[in-house]
């Protein structure tokens, strides 16, 4: 039923609209915030590359790879925006199969640190399919929940959504990638909440998860994961190992002051004190080099971006659009809070990247795809009523 209605709308909208109307429906603000955040990410890549010592433009430098990924991300964004998002609903089940396939492939041939399998090498570039899986998860859930709109009071809708999210979640946990599995959970919860699921059942579910925590702690989590989760409580207890990154990250952030030490001037980075500064802890170097003001600007850009995503969600007449935007907003908010919280020592270390800022092609391309789909939703909402 939903599918048929949407198709009707597409035909009428598409035929009646000019290029100018499409441009007006395009959310320029959203794109601007995204581009600015990408610039911050590139600036940090530049800083890291300089710190690496081989120069920013050396072959294979973090900055060069960042530029390459940004280029690819722009293409992905454009294609996704031009592509009629409504096909996603039709392609939902094949996309779900693709998601499971990618995660299965990662598990089978992926490489990672300490016996984990996270990355798959494509043409010499490491790619983390679990990032793409997040966007696919949002698409699949938006389709499922959108089709069941009006029936979201039912426990069965909630359980159905959980069942849908279950297999990818298990595959991600098996990598093991605790961070992505938590992002999946956040996406699911955000979409159920914004889709209007019964608060009663949502609370019941939340309580169930809470009750299962001891079980998960004992049987699911690996020792190093537990150590990382707990070391944030007292990083100084184990400064040399599990708490080391956290401690050094806090020193980096804390030493930034109001205006920071200036780009490329991080001592924590230059002298290699922050072990994975190029990945999940980049924000620490950002806060060190650009200071409180710089960090605040980045957070403000994220808030503005999430606001535009929510606006799209509200405006979309198509429940799929509403739910997709809600999922994307949940993902970005969750990753922002957990990553920055982790770097500043108020959240456990879970290996969740900060969109745009953390270097990594998969993260950037996935978020570009997500925002592209969002623009596609914006463009295809008929005549602007705003």
């Amino acid at each position: 039923m939903g599918v048929i209605n949407a198709r009707e709308a597409r035909v009428t909208d598409w035929t009646s609209r000019s290029v100018g109307a499409i441009w007006r429906a395009f959310d320029l603000q959203l794109a601007t915030y995204a581009v600015l955040l990408t610039c911050f990410g590139l600036a940090m890549a530049y800083s890291n590359a300089v710190a690496g010592g081989d120069g920013a433009l050396a072959t294979g430098s973090v900055f060069l790879r960042g530029l390459l990924w940004t280029g690819i991300a722009l293409v992905v964004f454009t294609v996704a925006a031009a592509f009629d998002y409504r096909w996603l609903k039709t392609l939902s089940w094949p996309l779900y199969a693709l998601q499971l396939g990618l995660l299965g492939l990662t598990l089978a041939i992926g490489t990672g640190v300490g016996g984990s399998s996270r990355w798959v090498s494509i043409l010499g570039l490491q790619f983390q399919f679990s990032e793409l899986a997040k966007i696919l998860m949002i698409v699949v859930l938006a389709n499922y929940l959108g089709a069941r709109r009006g029936r979201l009071d039912s426990i069965w809708s909630i359980l159905g959504a959980c069942l849908l999210a279950g297999p990818p979640w298990v595959l991600v946990m098996a990598q093991p990638d605790l961070g992505t599995s938590l992002v999946f959970a956040a996406i699911l919860a955000g979409m159920l909440f914004m889709g209007g699921a019964s608060l009663r059942w949502l609370s019941a579910m939340a309580l169930t998860v809470l009750a299962m925590l001891p079980f998960i702690w004992t049987y699911v989590l690996r020792d190093y994961q537990k150590l990382r989760l707990t070391s944030f409580l007292d990083p100084l207890a184990d400064v040399q190992d599990a708490g080391y990154q956290l401690y050094q990250a806090q020193i980096a952030v804390g030493s930034g002051g109001w205006f920071g030490k200036g780009l490329t001037n991080s001592t924590q980075n230059q002298l290699d004190f922050l072990p994975v500064q190029t990945t999940d802890f980049v924000f620490a170097i950002l806060a060190e080099e650009l200071g409180f003001i710089g960090a605040l600007v980045v957070i403000a850009l994220f808030i503005a971006l999430i606001w535009r995503v929510l606006v799209t969600s509200w405006r979309s007449r198509d429940p799929f659009g509403t739910l997709f935007a809600a999922g994307l907003a949940s993902m970005i908010l969750f990753q922002l809070f957990v990553n920055v919280g982790m770097v500043t020592g108020i959240m456990p270390i879970t290996g969740i990247p900060l969109p745009f800022i953390t270097h990594g092609g998969a993260s950037l391309i996935s978020i570009a795809a997500g925002l592209g789909i969002l623009e596609s939703i914006n463009i295809r909402q008929g005549r602007a009523e705003w």
């Binding site: 009006g150 914004m194 001592t267 806060a287 960090a295 808030i303 929510l310 509403t322 920055v340």
Partner: protein, 644 residues
Amino acid sequence: MSTTELQFVSRRARDGRSPIRFVAFGLAVILAASVLTARLFALQIASGGRFVALAEYNRTVNQAIPSTRGVIYDRNGVPLVTNVPGYSVKVRPADLPEDRRPEVVGRLAALLGLDPADINIAIDSNPGSRFDLVRIASDVDPGVANFISESRLDLPGVEVVVESRRDYVTGSLLSQVIGYTGPINAVQLQELKPEGYLPDDLLGATGVEAEYEAVLRGTYGVESIEKDAQGRKIQVLRTLAEPVPGNSLELTIDVQAQRWAQQALEWGMSEAGLKRGVVIVMNPQTGEVLAMVSLPTYDDNLFAHGISNADYEALVANPNKPLTNGAIAEHFPPGSTYKLVAGTGGLADGEIKATTKLATKGYLTLGSTRFYDWNRRGFGACNMMCGFGHSSDTYFFQVAGMLGIDRLAHWAGEYGFGEPTGVDLPGEVSGIVPSNQWKLETLGTEIYPGEVYQAGIGQGYDVVTPLQLINAYTALANGGTLYEPRVVRNVLDAEGNVVQAYEPTVLHELDVDPSVLRTMRQAARNVVLIRHTYNLVDLPIVVAGKSGTAEFGTRDAQGRLPFHSWFVAFVPKDPAKTAADPTGMKAVAGTESELAVLAFAYDSRTRGNAATEIVKYYLQLHYGIDKDYRNFDLLERGNFYQSN
């Protein structure tokens, strides 16, 4: 608006897309942003620069600049210990991957000629953190050092550094006195860290090196260096404090006297087939030790070059204890030399006079037990000159009996027995002076009368260190002043100026009438005069002294005990014999003695007193006496127990 759109609008209300949930989500976003902003503010602004300091600390560290350790001279300025630069090979465990360790250790062992096990032990017993260097080898051949520093890729975590090493110029001659430096251990590091000691530091382990560690070490300097997270030095930023070189020491030891003492002892030991022996030479007027030889010994340079565990274990396991300074670190029964205590006590307490004659015989009977004199015929009626001169046991049994154990203990204490002498060397033991209280405390019973007899002749519970014994005789020789023996005379600065001179330290003055000690000195001269010490009297110099034979251990098949020999002598000032004083009695009546010599022959069992012959040989060397008075036949070994 088209119908379709109207449919959409009306449907929107039924979507359950509630504005309240959007508001709630928006509030969650604002809350999250606020929390993060507050946290960033707390870290970056409100922390007041604490993290700035921490980041700076990460980047720059204050690193110690080792100071030059002071060197050591003998009393005449002859260098005994110097510093020479050498290559050391060190390992930083953090930079040595565990899976490559066997390979790297194996390669290092081959290059350095070490046992791989020793290298592993060194790495595993590293007192510092994994980021601190561990010394693997010192004084490495320059070619090997060069090769190692050029093979960085094959030898991860291995570094070559130039550092100063101790060179013990006189080899084994003074090893036990000077001692050696060794790597700091975890316990010492914990204790000494506040004083600037480093995990790969060396510190004095034994002898003067240990006793005067604070003087020799100097003060380490501090430089501020920039380092990376691996602790590698990037560059020196500035020197905060220049290192202050350690002060040097001038020993009381006369290296020439030490050589003579060693020569005399080595001769006696090889002639009599002895395993262990001690010779000490002192100045009775100051308490200065001029020579201190304990054989067998070892070479401090073994430790300076980095001794292998196998070599070290061999030294420790050697039953003749080459690492032990027998002069101070062990005590032995003093035998008849201890009759000085009973004699002095008897005279001082008025139990006897110098002229009092006591009947000496083959034995005394106490209850049903016979206490034999070494001379089974006795010496007849004997005064102190006779009793001490012949070393009559029955004479001193009676004197000891008159005094009782506690008076004996008192006079032993007056001579410094039962307490460490306080010599400036580590490891000194106190010896044992039995008294009623001592026996009650340690064995739970009172002293038996027979044990008083034993105590009077230096047997039974009495044990003394050779240094205690010679120190007691220096007090006799100098008229009753008990000095604290010293091996270090002066502390010198880098230019050789005396910055601290150790004046002779008087432990106490003996509480006796000078005539008592004069009698005892003359009695000691009588020991020589009556040829109790064979031809010692023939020396062209005046020598007084007392021999001792101290039984120990377990009886052999013939019921004989093994025994140690002692001889402790003193020489008056200007000792050459004169026509005016042919017996030398006038010379020893004075208190201006210039030399005291002690020899101790462990488990000697020789026909004559081996220690006396060793002292005699030393005196011949010391005074340049060309004629040789040594009696080689007396050093024939069996199990003779003829005299005291």
